[in-house]
Every structure is written in C-alpha cells, then in structure tokens.
C-alpha cells in the first residue's frame, strides 16, 4: 500500500497564463472577450494604481498617511480579479487590497482616512458591498464563507470574493473558510496573492505544498494557479470562477503568482533583509504593466500620451483626496463611545458624559 501525495496530480496545477512577458498571447483559446475600451480601462486602472502607490509611499514618509501596505507589482492580481466582478458582488479585502475596493466605489479620500486610522474611512457609501479591510489575515476567509452563504440564501445573483496572501494560506481560518464554502456550495471566490513573502518568510517555508492552489483539492473545491503578473489570465480565471459559483458549481481557490516590489508595510519593513536584488530584477521583468502595455501597443490601443493622461489624472485625484481627508472632522473619543452599542448601557452612558464634557471644551 502506498500513500498519495499531490505530486501525482501536480500537472493539474500548471500555471495559467494568457500573455507572456513580452505581451504576446500564448493561450489564444482562453483569450477573454473584452472590448477595446475595457482593455484600455484595465490598463488605466493599473497605471493609476501604480502612481497612487508611489504617491502613497511618499505621503506616508511625510507623515500625511498612516498605515500603508505597498501594492506595486500586484496590480494584475488585484485589478484583473476585480474587473471580473459585478457592482453588487461583495469584496472582503485584506489590508493590501485597497485598490479593489476603491475601484468598486470607495472614494479615494476614504481610503486615505482608513490609512490614517479614522473611522470615516470605513463608513462606506450606502449599498457598497465591501467589508472593512481585514488585519487578521485569515478572518476574512471564514467571513467570506458566511457572506457567500448569505447571498445564496437571499437568492442574489452575486458572489463574495476575498483576498489574502501566501502567509494567509497558512492560517487555520483559511482551511475552515474554503471547507465551509465547499460544504455549503456557497458562491465564493478565494484569491491568494502569492507574492512570495509573508513579511519576510518565503513561501517555501510556509508549506511543503508545491502550490497553494492545490489546497483546494482537500476542500473538494476548484483550484487554479494563475500567472499573477498577467492581468488577462487573472481576469479570465476570476470570471470563470464567478460563473461557476453562480451556476451552483461551488467555490474556487485562485492562487496568483505575483510579487510586491516594496516593503510589507511602511511601518519599518526593509525587504533587503530577506530578498536579493537579483530576485527583484527577475520579477521586474515580469511586470504586469510592461507586458500589458506591450500587448495594447501592439493593438494600437495605448500610447505614451494616454499613459501620461492617466498619470496626471491620478496625481490630481490624489491631491484632491488628501485635501478632502484633511477636511474631515477629527475623530474623538465621544464618537468611539457612541458607536459601541445601539443602546448604550450604563457604563458607556457615564463615559460618554465624561468625554462629551472634556471634548466639547
């Protein structure tokens, strides 16, 4: 009798790709049906997000933003998957997944408020189906199972999508979440953005599994590994997963192979302590913007001029968003006490009185 390992089914988890590093289509049959405008919009969002990331890092260094987790390198994973969603779909993001919720409808100045630790950043516009970015990296996975089951019960034609990183796939809640969603056949899509490092610990030290995608096998759900620097592949994989979920064919786990160029967060992480410049250079060659730009230029859908327009727009929007964030009234302890319960019990009532007196001075 022999035991079985995933090696026997490894070929099922080959990396899915549509565009190679030169922006050439290598998988024509999987080419998604997107209009020229849609293709340009995807590029626009990726360029916009790259500029936003550069500005956010600089604003953070100036002390004008708070907590920030850089996103450069992950644009294809984040925005390609988001582009496959419908407006009523639910997003349960991790702390790095701010671009998706902004393109889903969160005003940019609120994203900045969230970064500054102001609750105004998570007072979402009515009807916007997003959840406050999660800090505990497995918690959103189990919550997604719940949202997806909730959508199914309410007979909504929508899915719940969630994001975590390769480190998040080590959390117990990751397994519980994909298992629950599978057991309830709930319309959920789980995206693991494998950016190679959980802060400093490489993915090889997270697990003996060769892919994160194969973890779907044990939960009895679909799993796929995607080239996370290829925006079309991520888009197509998510679109297919969404369709399957709504067709009652269950959840999907999507592993995107990606890389964060920057630090884990701006709170003192120094990536040179745990990775080499050779590794950085190697991944820079796979850059999602370069390859998609090449692809679009080949179709005469992109130009330097267009790119500059987006860059200028992004800079303008960011300037305005910072101004709007600055204008937001300061958060105080009275607000905090006021939001603890619907009907404040006696301890909260007393403390509200105390802080109202203090803070109205």
């Amino acid at each position: 009798m022999s035991t079985k390992t995933i090696d026997q089914v490894e070929e099922q988890f080959e990396t899915f790709q549509i565009l190679n590093e030169e922006g050439e289509v290598v998988n024509e049959s999987e080419m998604p049906d997107l209009s020229d405008e849609q293709l340009q919009e995807i590029m626009r969002r990726m360029v916009y997000t790259r500029i936003w990331d550069q500005r956010a890092i600089s604003l953070n260094r100036q002390g004008r933003l708070g907590f920030y987790a850089p996103t450069a390198g992950q644009e294809a994973s984040q925005l390609g998957s988001h582009f496959a969603l419908e407006q009523e779909d639910w997003i349960l993001p991790g702390y790095r997944d701010i671009p998706q919720i902004v393109f889903h409808g969160l005003p940019l100045h609120q994203a900045f408020l969230w970064s500054r630790g102001h609750f105004g950043g998570s007072q979402f516009p009515d009807g916007l189906n997003i959840v406050v970015p999660q800090i505990i990296i497995g918690a959103q996975i189990i919550q997604t199972a719940g949202v997806a089951l909730g959508l199914k019960r309410k007979k909504k034609e929508n899915i719940a999508i969630t994001y975590t990183g390769d480190g998040g796939a080590s959390q117990g809640d990751f397994y519980e979440g994909i298992n629950f969603a599978g057991a309830y056949n709930a319309p959920a899509v789980f995206i693991v953005q494998n950016n190679r490092f959980a802060i400093s610990v490489p993915v090889e030290k997270q697990s003996a599994a060769k892919t994160i995608a194969q973890k779907a096998v044990a939960a009895g759900i679909e799993g796929i590994q995607v080239d996370g620097m290829d925006v079309l592949a991520v888009y197509k994989a998510t679109l297919d997963a969404r369709k399957r979920a709504l067709a009652g064919e269950g959840p999907t786990l999507i592993e995107t192979l990606t890389y964060r160029y920057g630090a884990h967060t701006m709170a003192g992480d120094d990536p040179t302590r745990y990775r080499t410049s050779e590794e950085d250079d190697e991944w820079a060659k796979k850059d999602p913007l370069i390859r998609f730009r090449k692809f679009l230029e080949g179709k005469k859908l992109w130009s330097e001029e267009k790119e500059n327009e987006v860059v200028e727009q992004a800079k303008e929007d960011i300037k305005q968003a910072i101004k709007d964030a600055d204008k937001t009234p300061k958060q105080n302890v009275t607000d905090l006490l006021g939001f603890m319960f619907e009907n404040p019990p006696v301890n909260i009532r007393e403390q509200l009185e105390e802080y109202t007196a203090k803070e109205s001075k």
Partner: protein
C-alpha cells in the same frame, strides 16, 4: 403556560424567533438532526427546515466567521458553540471581530449575532468543557454577556438577545438545563438586557450572583434567614455590562455585600463588581466586599469538582464574615 426546564425554555425562545423572523438562523455542530448534544435545538430543524436550522462542519472559528458573514447579508445568526470551553478556537471571531464591528464601520454595519453556549461546572464533564470563561468575554468592550439562572429568565433574555442589533454572548449553565422546572408563558416576552433582578429582598447584606450561583445564593439566604440575617440576592442576568445601578442601590440599603461567582477568583466578573462598589459606594460600606469564588487553579478534573466549586455553605460562611467584620 408550560412547566418547563431551562433547556425547554431556551428551545422555545429560538422557536419563537425562528417563527417571527425569516432572517433568524440557528446553526452549530450537531444542532440539526441531532437536536444538539443537550437537545436544546430539538425539533427545530424538523419544524423550520435545513435552510434555517443547520449543522456546520466541526470548526468553531468557521462557525464564528459564518455568523459574521451571514449577519452582513441581513441575517440574524444564532450560533452555537457546543461547549464554551471550545471558545478559544473562535475567540477572534467573537472578541476580535464582532465586538468591534459597529465602531470600525463608523456605525454603518451592525453585528446582530447571538452566540449561545453551554458552560459551567458540577456536571462532571471531561476537561475543556465546563470552564467559566465569561470573564474573558466581559473584558471585551462591545460584547454583551448574558447568563440566565432559571427557565423564565432564559426565555425572555434569549428573545431579547436575538433581537439585539449588537453581539450577545448567551451562556447556559449546564447544571441548570434540567435541574428544575418553572412556569413559563408560552407567548413571547422579553427581559431587558443589562438589567439585574432582585431575586430576594433583604436588608442586612447584598449577595450578588449569576447563573448557577443564584440558586446557591438563594439557599444560602434561606439558611441565613434562619439565623435572623435577611440577605438580598441580586441576579445580574447580564454580567457585562452589568447593572451597576441596581447593585449600588442595594448596597446603599444593606451596607454590606458579597459577590458570588463560580469562576476562579482572578477570572473576571466579581472583581469588576467589587471595584464599582468601592468607587461608588465606599461610604455606605460597613465591611469590605468579599468574594466567593473557586480557587485560582486551572479548571479541575471531574473528581475534585465538588470540592472546588463554591456552594451554599461557603456563601453563608462568607456572608457571616462580612456581617461580623
């Protein structure tokens, strides 16, 4: 009117709310077909279907996350943790996530989850089943922690908990499930969360208790009465945030108090009550406020449980100590 055990009263509260509101869902390990290991959800799946009353995979953290997600999509989840000793597995969902949801969303998303769970000692369960962990919950701002002491209160409090738009941890003492019956109205009624109940009036000393310790305190009060001491017994019912007004009014009347909890001395509720009495009513006191608790050991194996847990005799002794101070 039914003459019900606390288990039956709790089932009836859930039945009432399942009937009343389509969005109420009851789920947990073994709660469906099996009706729960204590049969508290008995018959509910048959009555309301697998869509409303359902079994979950065996994973407490997943159950908590499921409840949060369901609440976000407009449901009112009543989740069961099979034994409260297993709460550590789901601590993040309850204490880390649900408790802060209203604030973190700037009051735009609510978390109307009821976490039901059996707990409490004296029934000789295996390790990790009986632990009194209400103190851990009570130390978490944003949670309400409710512990009924009889069938009537249990029904009214659970209906209130399910209707509350904030997370409520509802703990059911295992020893009380079937130890006695009480007349319980079949129609619906609510008991306000956050209010204590004076179970016995008295003028000489206030005994503050909750859960199974209310029965022990009532017995102690009877014994004290035989010796001419009239004890007032307050059942907190909601242990966090607790009804400080009722407690202080009573202490100002009796000038003496003891606090009785089944949990270890360092474990929570009683210390908070003593602190509040000290801050608010020290000049009314004729003696220090003493605590009747279990000792500060890990929760013991079954064979020593009876010696370890507080009982009426110890309560009487402690009350006399305060009176004779």
């Amino acid at each position: 009117m039914g003459n019900w055990t606390m288990a039956q009263a709790i089932t009836d509260a859930m039945r009432n709310e399942l009937n009343k509101n389509e969005d109420v869902l009851v789920f947990g390990e073994d709660v469906g077909q099996n009706g729960g290991v204590f049969r508290v959800t008995e018959g509910l799946q048959k009555e309301f279907g697998e869509d409303r009353v359902f079994d979950t995979p065996l994973a407490e953290s997943g159950i908590g996350g499921l409840a949060i997600g369901l609440a976000l999509t407009g449901h009112r989840p009543v989740m069961e943790i099979q034994f409260f000793g297993f709460v550590f597995e789901v601590f993040d969902s309850i204490a880390g996530q649900m408790s802060r949801w209203r604030y973190r969303s700037g009051n735009k998303q609510t978390m109307p989850v009821t976490v039901r769970s059996p707990f409490g000692g004296g029934v000789k369960t295996p390790e990790m089943h009986a632990d009194s962990l209400e103190g851990l919950m009570a130390q978490t701002p944003g949670l309400k922690v409710v512990i009924p002491s009889n069938p009537y209160d249990a029904k009214g409090l659970l209906i209130s908990a399910i209707r509350d738009n904030d997370p409520v941890v509802f703990l059911e003492h295992m020893k009380l499930y079937r130890s006695f019956r009480q007349d319980v109205p079949e129609e619906e009624y609510t008991i306000e969360l956050g209010k204590a109940d004076i179970k016995r009036e008295g003028k000489d000393i206030t005994i503050i208790a909750y859960g199974a310790m209310v029965q022990a305190s009532m017995k102690a009060a009877e014994e004290l009465a035989e010796e001419g001491v009239e004890a007032e017994v307050i059942d907190l019912m909601t242990v966090s945030p607790f009804d400080v007004e009722t407690v202080i009014a009573s202490v100002e009347k009796t000038n003496r108090a003891i606090v009785v909890q089944e949990a270890q001395k360092q474990a929570g509720i009683a210390s908070q009550i003593v602190a509040e009495i000290t801050e608010r009513a020290i000049l009314s006191l004729e003696a220090p406020v003493l605590r009747v608790t279990s000792p500060d050991t890990v929760y013991p194996f079954a064979a020593v449980e009876d010696a370890w847990l507080p009982n009426p005799a110890i309560i009487v002794e402690k009350a006399k100590e305060v009176i004779n101070f």
